[in-house]
Symmetry: C2
Amino acid sequence: MPLYMDVHKNVDGATATAVADARLKDLQIQEKYGVKYCKYWLDESTGTIFCLVEAPSKEAAERVHREAHGLTADEIYEVMEG
Amino acid sequence: MPLYMDVHKNVDGATATAVADARLKDLQIQEKYGVKYCKYWLDESTGTIFCLVEAPSKEAAERVHREAHGLTADEIYEVMEG
């Protein structure tokens, strides 16, 4: 399955707790779209979040974020892990 | 040790092989600066590279890239893993 890295920028209120809550919402609905959010990394000071996600398509990965909590990424890249 | 995600953008010739070669050069000198490059992810189509790195400081992480192959990141974020 393709692997994507998405990037959220300048997210207001991106505390560890708030992002963990949003994450939980992703996990609760992702199966419906064949998506698997893997790891994420957060820089609280700039409100930057990187999410690594396996998904059948970029659109499927985005749909999960949109439906789960509405916070879609600013950028999404199809990546291979080195 | 702090954890950073760096982002390289629009890198010319960022093929899997070229990036793996650059990576090897990082690994060969990183110990000198107390740095540990962990994983990386590459989008060949846009020349985007994400490197996850443990380092005593942002500057130390950058120094390894600069000295190893000269390809420093465009952005670097101190992150926590979620």
